[in-house]
Amino acid sequence: MLKIENLHVEIKGREILHGISLEVPDGEVHALLGPNGSGKSTLLMAAMGFSGYAVTKGRVLLDGKDITHIPINERARAGLGIAFQRPPIVKGIKTKHLVAICMNNGKIPGQDTSMRKDVEILAEDMHCRPFLDRELNSGLSGGEMKRSELMQLLAQDPRMVLLDEPESGVDIENIALLGKAINRLLGRNPEPNGKESLKEKRIQRRRSALIITHTGHILNYLFSDRGYVMIDGYIACEGNPRELLGTVEKYGYKECLKCVV
C-alpha cells in the first residue's frame, strides 16, 4: 500500500530524515515510536506532501505509484489521509463545512440535506456535536482536536491513514472511543453476519495505517502488525510493536541509540 524508499527530508535546509525506508502492506497497521524531535511527524508530513518538508532524495509510493511530487490534494484523492498532531486553526470555516467537504471528495457540496444529516450522525458518533458550528480547531481541547481529526478522516474515508499521536492528551474513555473510530476507519472488528466467515472478512480487509504513538495505549484497541523506532532521523529498529514498546519502557531510547549507524 504505502512504500517509503530511502527518504531524505529537509526542513529549512536542515536534513531531518536521513534515508527512511519502510513498507506498510495492504491491510496492515504499523506503529512508529521514537523520542521527541526524532522526526516522526516529519515523516508523515513529507509523505502527505506538505511544502515545508523538502524531499531531497528517495520516493514515496502509494499502490506502487510514485507520489513523491504530486500535490497534497491529489494524494488525498489517491486515498492517503492524515490526522495531524497539531492541526491549525482556520478562521471563518466551520467544522461541519469541512466534514461535508470531506464526504464530498473535497468538493464544496450544494444544499444537500441528506449530507447535512450524515455529518450530524457522524459528529454524534464522534462526540463532536458541540463544536460542529465552531471555526475549525478554534478553542478545542486536546481530546476534542483528536476526535475532530478522526471525524474528518472518517468522512474522507482514505485507504491509507497516517495518524500522528491520535491518543496523546486524551482521557481513558475517549481513547476507547478513538480506538473504535480507528477500527471503523480501517474496516476492522467486523461483526459476524452469517454470510462470510470472519476469516474471509479479515482476508478482505485492505485498509492500512501508520500510527505514531508514544505510550502505545492506542495499540490496546487495535492490533498492529509491525513497529519501528525512529532515532535522530534514522530507523534504529523494527519488529513486533509490543516487544519494541516493552524494551523502550524498560531500558529507554538510549539503548536504541546504539543501533543508529
Binding site: 500535490p71 492541526p87 491549525p88 471563518g92 470555516i93 467537504i101 470531506c102 473535497g106 464544496i108 474522507q156
Partner: protein, 300 residues
C-alpha cells in the same frame, strides 16, 4: 425600510434597478419591513466625465426602527460621485444602514457622511465595496451625543488592480455609557487600500473597539491600516487590533489534505476572512462577492 440607489450607468440604469430590486426582495426575508417604499430608485450620470451630487438626509424618529439599503453601481463610464449624507438617530431609535458599492472602472466616489446618535439610539453601518471604481474616499463620522448611544461600523473592502480605496470610520464617544465598534476586513487583489479607523473617547467610562484586518493576495497590492485611538478622559476602555498578512500556507495545505483543490481552499479562507456572514447579506449579493473572490484568486 428605505431603499435608495445611485448609478452612473450612461444609458440604461437597468443594472442598478435590478440590483436594488434583488436587495429589496431578498432583504424582506431577513427583516420584515414595517413599511417599505422606494426612495429615489436611481440617479444616473448622463454624460461621460460628469459630476453627480446628491444630498441625503435621513432621520430616524424617537423609538423608530429603520433600515436603509443603498446600492450604487454603474457601467464603465467615467465620472465623479459626490454624496453628502446626514443621519439623525433620535432617542431610542435604531438605524441600520447597508450600502453596497460596485462602481465602474473610471468612477471616483467621494461621499461625506455624518451621523448623530441621541440617547439610547443605535446606528449600524454595513458597508461593502466590491468594485471601488478608480478611487473611493470616505471617512464617515458618528457623534454619540446621548447617554448609552451605540455605533457599529462593519466594512468589507475588496481592492481590485488599479483602484484606490481609502475608507475608514470615526466615532466620537461624547456621552456617558456610549459604545462603539469599528470593524473592517480588507482584501487586496492588486489594488491599494487604506483602512482607517478613529475612536475618540471624550468622557469617562466609555468602551470602544477598533479592528482593521487585511489580507494581501497580490504582489502589487498595498494595504495600509491606520487605527487611531484618542483618549480625552480617564477610565476609558478603548482597544484596537490591526493585522495585515497573507494567507497562511499551513491552513491551505490542511484543507488540501482533506481533498480540496488549492483554489477552493484559498477561496474558502478568503471568504471566511471577509466574514460576510455576519452582515446577513441577501443571497445574490453574497454570490456576487463569492464570484469576485474565486475569479480573483485564479489570477493570483
Amino acid at each position: 425600510m428605505v431603499i435608495t440607489g445611485n448609478t452612473s450607468e450612461k444609458h440604461c440604469p437597468m443594472k442598478a434597478i435590478s440590483m436594488i430590486f434583488q436587495m429589496v426582495t431578498s432583504y424582506g426575508r431577513y427583516r420584515a419591513p414595517i413599511r417599505c417604499f422606494l426612495f429615489r430608485p436611481c440617479l444616473y450620470m448622463s454624460e461621460e466625465g460628469s459630476v453627480q451630487q446628491v444630498h441625503n438626509i435621513v432621520v430616524a424618529e424617537n423609538g423608530s426602527d429603520l433600515n436603509v439599503l443603498t446600492g450604487c453601481t454603474s457601467g464603465s463610464s467615467s465620472g465623479t460621485h459626490l454624496g453628502n449624507s446626514e443621519f439623525y438617530v433620535k432617542k431610542g431609535a435604531t438605524l441600520h444602514f447597508t450600502m453596497i458599492h460596485a462602481w465602474g472602472e473610471e468612477v471616483e466616489t467621494l461621499p461625506r457622511t455624518a451621523v448623530i446618535v441621541e440617547e439610547g439610539g443605535t446606528f449600524i453601518s454595513d458597508y461593502i465595496s466590491m468594485q471601488p471604481g478608480k478611487k473611493i474616499k470616505m471617512y464617515p463620522a458618528a457623534y454619540l451625543k446621548g447617554p448609552g448611544a451605540t455605533a457599529r461600523f462593519n466594512s468589507v473592502l475588496v481592492g481590485l488592480p488599479g483602484t484606490l480605496v481609502d475608507i475608514g470610520s470615526k466615532v466620537y464617544l461624547q456621552a456617558e455609557g456610549t459604545r462603539a465598534e469599528v470593524i473592517s476586513r480588507t482584501v487586496s487583489l492588486g489594488g491599494e487600500i487604506i483602512a482607517r479607523g478613529r475612536l475618540v473617547g471624550e468622557v469617562p467610562g466609555v468602551k470602544a473597539h477598533l479592528e482593521c484586518k487585511g489580507l494581501l493576495l497580490h504582489p502589487e497590492g498595498k494595504i495600509l491600516a491606520i487605527p487611531e485611538l484618542e483618549g480625552r478622559a480617564v477610565d476609558l476602555e478603548m482597544t484596537h487590533e490591526a493585522a495585515v498578512g497573507k494567507i497562511d500556507k499551513e491552513e491551505v495545505e490542511y484543507l488540501m489534505a482533506r481533498g480540496m483543490s488549492k483554489e477552493d481552499a484559498i477561496s474558502a479562507i478568503v471568504r471566511g476572512f471577509l466574514n460576510v456572514e455576519i452582515l446577513g447579506l441577501p443571497a445574490k449579493l453574497k454570490q456576487d462577492l463569492d464570484e469576485i473572490v474565486s475569479e480573483s484568486n485564479k489570477a493570483s
